[in-house]
Structures are given as C-alpha cells and as structure tokens.
C-alpha cells in the first residue's frame, strides 16, 4: 500500500500542531476577570511619618485579613487571613458583582492595627482587568493622601502627598470656603474656594484675598486631584471658561441632586475692589460633554435664574420629597439674612421662589432635613449682636411653604453639628458642640430635640471629648456611629482630633459614648472641606492652618468601619 506522506512526517506535523495549540492556549489569561491590588502604606515614624511601598512595618503586625465585600448591601462575599511574610494573597474565584470592594486589615496581637480598602468597583460579564494601588494606614487616625508621581527627568517613581491640581491656575492652590461632595461614581467633587488673609470669626465676613472658579475631581483609586477644565476634551471645546464656574466663589453651597448633578448657590465672589455675596446659581452636570459641564440655572427663555437675595454662608438642604433645595439665612455684607428661598433645579420646570420669611435672621445655624423628607429644621445660629437659641421649622402647609417657631435650644449656639437620627432614636436630631460667644466660647455639650417637643433634652454629662465648633459630622454607614472631625475650640484654636459617638439608647444615662481619636491631623487645619470616599475613609481637603496660608493638600481620616453583614 502506497502512502502519500510517511508516518514520521505525520507524527512530526501532529506534534508541532499540538505544541502550537498549547502555546496559544496556555500562558495568557484563562478567560476570567482579574483585579490586582498593590498595597502601600503610611506609617507615623520619627519626624513627619512617611509613605512606604509595600507593607509598612507596623509593630507586632503578622497577619493581613482580606475581605471582598459589597458595602452598600452589607455583604461579605469572601474572607481569608494571610501571613504578612507571604507578601501575596490570592482569591482565585471571587464572586463577581456590582459595588464590590476589597478591604484589608493588618492584625497584630489579635488587634486590628491598620486598614485600607480599594474604591468600589464592578466586575461584570465581559473579561476585564483592573489594577489598584491602595493605601494602608493606622485605624482611627489621620494620614496624608498619597499618590505616585514620576520625578521629572527620570524614571523614578515616588509616593508623595497629594495636592490640588494647579496646572491651569496661576495663583496659590490653597483654599478655604470650598466644598467637597461625593459623586455617584465614587469620586469627590471640589468646587471653588479662596485664599484668606487675617483670621475671621466664625460665620463673619472673611478676609478673602481671592476666589477661584475651578472644579476638581479627586479619584481615590489614584489619589490624584484633576481639574475638570484641564481635561483635553474640555480644552478642545474652545468654550471660554469651559468646565469652570462662571462666577468664581467661596463660602457657597454645593448640593448633590442625584445622577451626578450638583447645585451651586451663592457665596462670596471677588469684585473689582472688594468681595461681595452673589445671587448666582449654577448647575454642574458631570454627565454632560466636556466643556459643557457647568451651566447657569436657566428658565424657559434660557435666561439665568438668580436668588432673590444675594447670600453667602447660608445653608442648602435637599428635600427628598420633591427634589427642591431650601436655601436659608446666611449673610450679605453686614446684613444677616432673615429669608429663605426654594429652588427647583428640575430642568423641565426650574423655579426660584424667594423672599420667604424666617422667624429670625441667622447665619452659622444648622439645617436638618426631617424624617418626612420635606421639613427642614433650622437650629441656632448668630446675628452680629447675639448667639441664637431659637429654632424654626420650614414646612409645607396649605398656603405654601412657611417657617414656624419651635422649641428653644437648651444652649444658644452657632457652628454646631447636627444630624437627623431616625426612627431608631425616636426621630430625634442630635445637635453637638458649637460656639457660644460672638468672639470666643465653644461648648462640648450635645442636645437631642424634635420639632413637636416643647424642649430639647440634655444633661451636664452629655459631652464630647472637648468643646468644638465648626466640626464636620458624619454617620458611619456600617456601624451607624457618628464621626465628628476637627473644628475650633473656645479660643478659636484648631481642634485636631476626631470624636466617635456610639448610641447607647435614650434610656441610658448618657445617650452617646464618646471616644476621641488617638492622634491628631497630619496638618492642623480649620475651614477644610470633607467628604466620605468609597474606600471607607473621609477626605479632608484644604483649609487653613493656625496663622498660616490656606492649604493645598489633603488627608484622610480612617475610621475603620468594617462591613457588618445584615442579620
């Protein structure tokens, strides 16, 4: 029998084919999405502390616990503990899904010493690869925000403290009176601000040396601040002032409206000779095309809509019931405002309803949205002559929206921190700290109140770790504990630590237990802007040191709020 090709040649060809197929099949990705995380750390060392590539040498640290979680759902999908000496941890088959996060806890002597987390991410149907550089830092402590930069003229990379993006500005980067607001994509939006000269009393007209109109986005995945107007596409749009505020401002308000739209209202702007309050209203829409992300609020005729009264240092509260924003109090020049306005930012039927009377003129007051999603409770505040103990409730009635007087505070105060506690605390609001004098004085006391009650509840033993006003107050999403950061003490000196409040019950002698953070801010500052970040930390930006210029850097507070699975 004659064969066309010999056996050996067939065998050779077949083996080569198999090898070729194997070479194509193996060695590459195996068809599964991959998340790769590289850790770096901040360690408080001698002197200033330092960033460290890899795992810092925390005393007694020997293990790292890694969890894959869905924080919003309060679910822990995977969890394991690895020896730190291994240098590596692997989850070969972690569950895909939405809103995932990888949480890391450094354990030493059975205690959690430090922690960190990636920002939230999604892993979906198609194969993907994503890499994160994640910072580990001591828990319940402050640390500078780190980012990797390449040293000019070399290939060397170094971890450095992050700063505001100054590529487009020719002025100082430091700022006060700016705002920080979390976006729905896990970034933080920084808007406006200015530089101040001499120290000013809280809730009084600041000595602004200049204001800026830039808008920056902070990305926790990289630690970078990036100005929207610095976007290449925005530049190419050739729109003058593209992606910047049309009216640069400080001491304004920015309110998240949902769908990554934000309402910018009022504030101080720089005139030709002096600063003045503005009546400007602008909308930031991060989903719009680059170059068109900042627009004034306009009516059907495309004319800009304005506040009825110019104001700065006012409060802005989003009513969840109808999406409108209540703008209350504030000041303009030497006048403290006794009016409130309601803005409907809906692009289909925008409206500004102004000239609504308050019971008292007030600035530096607290404004809290109540449980009905519609009523806004104003508490305390000040005028130029007195510190207020009065409160008033802005609510809808048959004849429209009006304000009615409610019970007085036990202690008149302004610059206090307030939060609605919800049904679990009988729908009370907590009002903590605040300033008690026009030129000095602060309290460490807190009160609980409700609009339908004749008086606020308090006691001499209901106290924070120290007296402070103008502190930032947040509710931790997992433990529901409260976090109070920074502020000024009775002498208007900077308070550098944070208080953590845990609710004990209304029937307890002291409703909240208070733990102060062990350490202090990396750089003492007041007048900063803070926002929660999807990596579980709180971003503290800008502000002003004691007798210093405005700051351009940022730091984190790491509260360690591990995901608590639903029962």
């Amino acid at each position: 029998m004659v064969r066309a090709i010999s056996t050996k040649k067939w065998i050779l060809g077949l083996v080569v084919a198999l090898a070729a197929a194997a070479s194509f099949s193996c060695g590459g990705d195996d068809g599964t999405s991959r998340i790769s995380v590289t850790l770096f750390g901040w360690i408080d060392g001698a002197g200033d502390g330092e960033f460290v590539q890899g795992m810092p040498e925390y005393p007694a640290a020997d293990q790292i616990r890694v969890r894959i979680t869905q924080p919003d759902e309060r679910v822990i999908l995977s969890e394991d503990v690895f020896p730190i000496v291994d240098g590596r941890a692997l989850f070969p088959e972690a569950s895909a899904g939405d809103g995932l996060r990888m949480d890391f806890e450094i354990i030493g002597d059975s205690n959690v010493i430090a922690s960190g987390a990636t920002p939230k991410f999604n892993v979906g149907e198609s194969i993907s690869y994503r890499a994160f550089r994640t910072m580990i830092s001591p828990i319940n402590a402050f640390a500078p925000v780190g980012s990797m930069v390449r040293i000019d003229g070399s290939n060397e990379e170094r971890l450095v403290p992050s700063r505001f993006d100054g590529r487009e500005l020719d002025s100082s980067l430091g700022r006060v009176g700016h705002t920080a607001t979390a976006t729905e994509s896990g970034l933080v939006l920084i808007v406006g601000g200015g530089q101040v000269g001499a120290f000013h009393q809280p809730a009084t007209t600041p000595d602004l040396q200049g204001v800026v109109g830039d808008i920056q986005l902070f990305d926790p995945a990289t630690g970078y601040f990036t100005e929207l107007a610095g976007d290449d596409e925005a530049r190419r749009s050739s729109t003058v002032g593209a992606d910047r505020l049309q009216v640069p401002r400080a001491f304004h308000t920015v309110t998240a409206l949902g769908d990554d739209r934000f309402l910018v209202v009022g504030g101080y702007t720089q005139g030709s000779t002096s600063i003045s309050a503005t009546d400007s209203i602008e909308i930031i829409n991060l989903n719009a095309s680059p170059g068109a992300r900042v627009q004034p609020l306009t009516d059907a005729a495309q004319s800009p809509m304005l506040l009825q009264n110019r104001r700065a240092m006012h409060t802005a509260t989003l009513r969840e019931s109808d999406g409108r924003v209540v703008i209350a109090g504030g000041r303009s020049g030497n006048e403290v405002r006794n009016t409130f306005e309601i803005i409907n930012p809906n692009p289909q039927n925008p409206l500004v309803e102004g000239g609504l009377s308050m019971n008292s003129a007030r600035v530096g007051h607290s404004a809290v949205l109540m449980g009905d999603g519609s009523s806004v409770w104003l508490l305390g505040g000040r005028t130029d002559t007195e510190v207020l103990g009065s409160t008033e409730l802005i609510s809808d009635g048959e004849s429209g929206t009006s304000s009615s007087a409610t019970a007085n505070l036990q202690r008149p105060r302004y610059g206090a921190s307030a939060i609605f506690m919800g049904p679990s605390v009988n729908n009370f609001i907590l009002l903590a700290g605040g300033f008690t004098g026009l030129t000095s004085g602060a309290t460490r006391n807190y009160e609980l109140g409700r609009p339908d009650r004749e008086e606020f509840l308090t006691d001499g033993s209901w106290q924070l770790s120290e007296a402070r006003g103008n502190a930032a107050l947040f509710e931790l999403p997992q433990s529901r504990e409260l976090l109070l950061i920074g502020g000024l003490n009775p002498d208007f000196q900077i308070v550098g630590n944070a208080d953590r409040l845990q609710f004990q019950g209304l029937d307890a002698a002291v409703p909240f237990s208070v733990d102060a953070s062990a350490g202090s801010m990396y750089r003492l500052r007041s007048g900063f802007a803070t926002a929660p970040v999807s990596n579980g930390r709180y971003l503290i930006t800008g502000g002003q040191g004691q007798n210093e210029a405005a700051r351009q850097d940022a730091e984190y507070f790491n509260p360690r709020d591990p995901v608590l699975p639903r029962r």
């Binding site: 790769s36 850790l39 894959i68 895909a96 991410f121 999604n122």
Partner: protein
C-alpha cells in the same frame, strides 16, 4: 496517485504561500482579539444602557393609548427547590424596578387588590370602608338604629384588622358618627363611650355644632379636658425582636425596644411590624407620666397560613407554575386573575439552579388573546452580588415583552422540570475489541500512535525506505507540515481565545490578587 505526482502537486501549488499568510494573519490577530481591555464598569453599564435603550424604544413604539397594567406573580423557584430568601430578594428588587418603569403600571399585590370578596386583611378594611359609607348614608337618612349597627360593624372590622388600616382619620370619623348614631337611638352609654374614644384619639378635633348636639359636644370637651390634664405616659414597647417598627394611631414612633412619651391618656391603637409579622393591640395609656411596658411576642403569633387567605385559583396557579410544566391548563387561572386584578398582562419568573448560578426564566401572559411568551433567561450568581444589573435586565425584558409580545417567543407548553437521569446501558463499541484483534491482525487500515509500555501492534506493509530524492524533500514536507500544524494551532488557539473573550468562560467569578 503516485508519490511523484503528489510531490509535484505540492511543489507547484500556491497553497503553501496562502498557508503562511493565513498563519501570519492568525498569529497577529489572535493576541489582539484576546486583549480585551473592556472594564467591568463598561460591561455593567452596557447592560443597564441596553435596558435603558430598550425602554426608550418601547416608549417610542407606544405612541398613545392607556398604559398597560401588569400583575406580577411573586418570583418562585422550580419545584420550590431554592430558598425563599433568594426568591424574595429577587422578587422585591424586580417589583421595585418594574414599579419605576414608565411603560407600564404595576398592579399591587393580590392582597391589596382583593376587594369585597371578604378575604384578607385589606379586603376586610375595604369592607369596613363600605360599611362606613353605608352607615353615614343611613345616619343622614335618619335611620339611626341601622346606622349604628352598620357603623359598629365598620369600627369592629377596623379595630380587628388594624394591620391593614392605613388611614386613622377614617377610624376616628367612624367613632364620632357611631356616637352620634347611638345618641339618636337613645343608647346613651354607647354614645358616651364612643365619643370618649374619639376624644382620646383626636383631642384636637372640633365637632360641627350643626351636626353634633350639645350633649355630645360636652362629653367630647370633658374628655379632651381629662386627656390634657392627664398629659402623656411613658410607654416602653419591647419585642422578642429588635428593630420592629412601632406605630401608634398610624404614626411611626420608633423601633423596638423603644420608649414613647408623646401618646396621651386613653385608648390608642398599636401596630408593631417586623417584616411579614404584625402585632396589633388596643392599648390603654394611663398618662400622668406613668410608665407602662408593652411586650410584643412575634414568636407566639405562629406561622400564618397565608395560603388560607388566598383564593384557590391563585394557589393552584402558583403550584402549577412552580411545577415547571404548564400550558393551556393555566388559562382558566390566568383569566380569573386578570378579572380579579384588572390587569392586562400577567408576568411570572421561575428561578432554576444551574450549577454555580440561578437562571431566571420570565414569562408574560396577555389577557386579550391568551398568548404566553417566554423571555430571555437572565442569570444571577449564587451570592446575588450581581443583583442590581441582573434585575435591571430582567425587568427590561418583562417590560419589553409587555410592549411588544413578539410572536416568535410565544409558547404553548412549557417544561422546565429536569429530565429524569436516563439509565442507559452503555453500548459496547466495536472498536474496543479491535485493539486485541488489531494486535493479531496483520492488515491495519491505519497505524495507531504507539502507547508506552505496550507491544506495538504488528504493522502492515512497510513503506519502502525513502530514496535520496525523497530525503532531500523531507525538509520541504516538514516545512509544509509544520506550517499546516502552526496554522492549525493558530486557528485552534484563536478560536479558543475568541470563545473566552466572548464570555463563554464563567463570568460569575473573578480572580483577585493582592501584593505588598
């Protein structure tokens, strides 16, 4: 064909060049296709954008006409094999998503829809409303005794079914009118009692002097005065579960354990809810700052047999769907359900466990022509960590189905139930005997690869040793063979990578690596 002819044809043909070009193309193309830089976020957004895009198209298609009403059966699992926790989660999320769909109107659940058929708490409250309306009519018509009987029935129904009472103004109004009806019927004691209850519930009310006589108004004012002097009590509500929501007279007071200090003296109506469990109680507050404790024991309520409150056709429908085998036999149930609910469409979703995932199979029934369609399956991972995007997809499919009802998706008989595993007798393949025979037979149609450790089968006629000319062509043959092998490998490898890149690999998991 002779060897020379074969060699000559290979040397002549352009196939070698084409082969090399193909190999080169495939070698370059394969890695490019394999590098999928799409991020997880883009894929997820693609799902949701697709759902939104379909929604917009649906809106464009439905230019006018009433919004279709959809009744959604609770999500269930095939033969009840999946835990209720999973089906309830998917059900809750899907209903919420469908409720926000602009293309359709989601009909409330059956218990809320059932009216005067007299079944279920909401039906009873509906009956109470009906009785109340009749009682007011009788009162105005001057038939006071009949009005009193009717209004008493209304109040009794409401108090006995507090868990379904949404509007307490309704109860307070019934109390005041019942008092009036008793008064006019000369039942003074009953009139007084009901007016006092009304004052305790609504101390801030005012009575119309043109309707309520002076005597009743005096009773009311005296009771209000007593309530105000007594002030409030300190009520501690505790339950065998924490976090249960406490309502008194329809107002949310907090979650257990809770201390309530703003409820006045007298009779009040307490409802404590923890998920599906509801505790109701008429409480009497002593006021004067006195402390009272109320214990709520959800565990003592026992399992409510909800099915006993549901009509038989509904429970039968549920059982049929759960079996995974249904067809025309469903139609009488579906017709009855559409009649009862007023829905134009009925949708149901069956979850099936398939390896490391749940598959959700959606169906939609159109009442006008009794057509049933089966939509595209949607899969969830076992941890339901991709719930949001999958529910978005599922509700979009259902919503599109309601809009379009594509005939090519119509089904008549459905069988989702797993086939019983066949007990098959494996056929003895003839080839299995061959190796033994092959070892003994001299004549082999082809030469098997030698298996290590075995005696190579006796080979057939051996080709003649290659002559010199054949040896010199070996390289060319190897080259052709190698190129063919490389091409084959490239094709196979590219196909493998394409298949992987298209997501046929397991998308429900990912690999996470951490380094420090």
């Amino acid at each position: 064909m002779t060897m020379d002819e074969i060699r000559e044809s290979r040397a002549r043909g352009p196939r070698g060049w084409w082969l090399a070009v193909l190999v080169a193309c495939l070698c370059f193309a394969g890695p490019v296709w394999a590098e999928d830089d799409a991020t997880g976020e883009e894929a997820e957004h693609a799902d949701e954008e697709a759902a939104e895009g379909e929604e917009e198209q649906g809106e464009a298609r439905r230019a006018d006409g009433p919004t279709p009403r959809l009744f959604m059966m609770p999500v269930d699992s095939l033969q009840g094999e999946i835990t209720q926790i999973v089906t309830e989660r998917v059900n809750e999320s899907t209903r919420r998503q469908l409720d926000s769909e602009r293309r359709l109107e989601l009909v409330p659940g059956l218990m809320e829809v059932l009216g005067s058929s007299g079944q279920g708490v909401y039906a009873l409250i509906s009956e109470a409303e009906s009785q109340y309306t009749s009682g007011i009519g009788l009162l105005r018509a001057g038939d006071h005794q009949a009005a009193a009987e009717t209004l008493q029935r209304a109040v009794d129904l409401m108090v006995e079914n507090l868990s379904g009472l949404q509007n307490y103004n309704f109860l307070s109004d019934a109390l005041s009118n019942l008092s009036l009806a008793y008064f006019h019927s000369d039942f003074d004691l009953d009139a007084r009692q009901n007016m006092q209850r009304f004052a305790q519930l609504r101390p801030g009310a005012t009575l119309d002097p043109e309707i309520f006589p002076e005597d009743l108004r005096s009773i009311f004012e005296d009771e209000v005065d007593r309530v105000e002097r007594a002030e409030t009590g300190i009520l501690t509500i505790e339950a065998d579960r924490t976090g249960a929501q406490v309502y008194i007279d329809g107002d949310l007071k907090g979650a257990t354990p809770v201390v309530v200090e703003d409820v006045g003296f007298g009779h009040h109506y307490m409802v404590v809810r923890d998920g599906e469990a509801v505790w109701t109680e008429v409480i009497r507050v002593r006021g004067r700052g006195q402390e009272q404790t109320f214990e709520v024991e959800f565990d003592s309520l026992g399992q409510e047999d909800e099915s006993s409150e549901l009509p038989a056709y509904y429970t039968d429908l549920q059982q049929n769907l759960r079996s995974g085998r249904f067809g025309q036999d469903l139609h009488p149930y579906l017709i009855e359900l559409t009649n009862q609910t007023g829905a134009d469409f009925i949708a149901w979703v069956l979850l099936v466990r398939e390896g490391p995932r749940y598959i959700a199979a959606p169906f939609v029934y159109r009442a006008s022509d009794a057509m049933v369609i089966q939509g595209e399956n949607v899969d969830f991972n076992l941890e339901l960590s991709n719930m949001r995007s999958r529910v978005s997809r599922l509700s979009a499919i259902i919503s599109m189905a309601v809009s379009d009802m594509p005939e090519d998706l119509a089904v008549e008989d459905v069988d989702l139930a797993p086939e019983p595993t066949p007990v098959a007798t494996p056929e003895v393949p003839e080839e299995e005997e061959e190796p033994e025979e092959v070892a003994e037979v001299d004549d082999h149609p082809s030469d098997p690869l030698p298996v290590p450790g075995t005696t190579p089968p006796e080979r057939g006629p051996v080709a003649e040793l290659p002559d010199e000319r054949e040896r010199s062509n070996t390289l060319r043959y190897v080259g052709y063979g190698g190129a063919a092998a490389l091409a084959g490998g490239a094709i196979a490898g590219t196909i493998i990578m394409l298949v992987r890149a298209s997501g046929s690999s397991d998308p429900t998991v990912f690999e996470a690596e951490v380094e420090w």
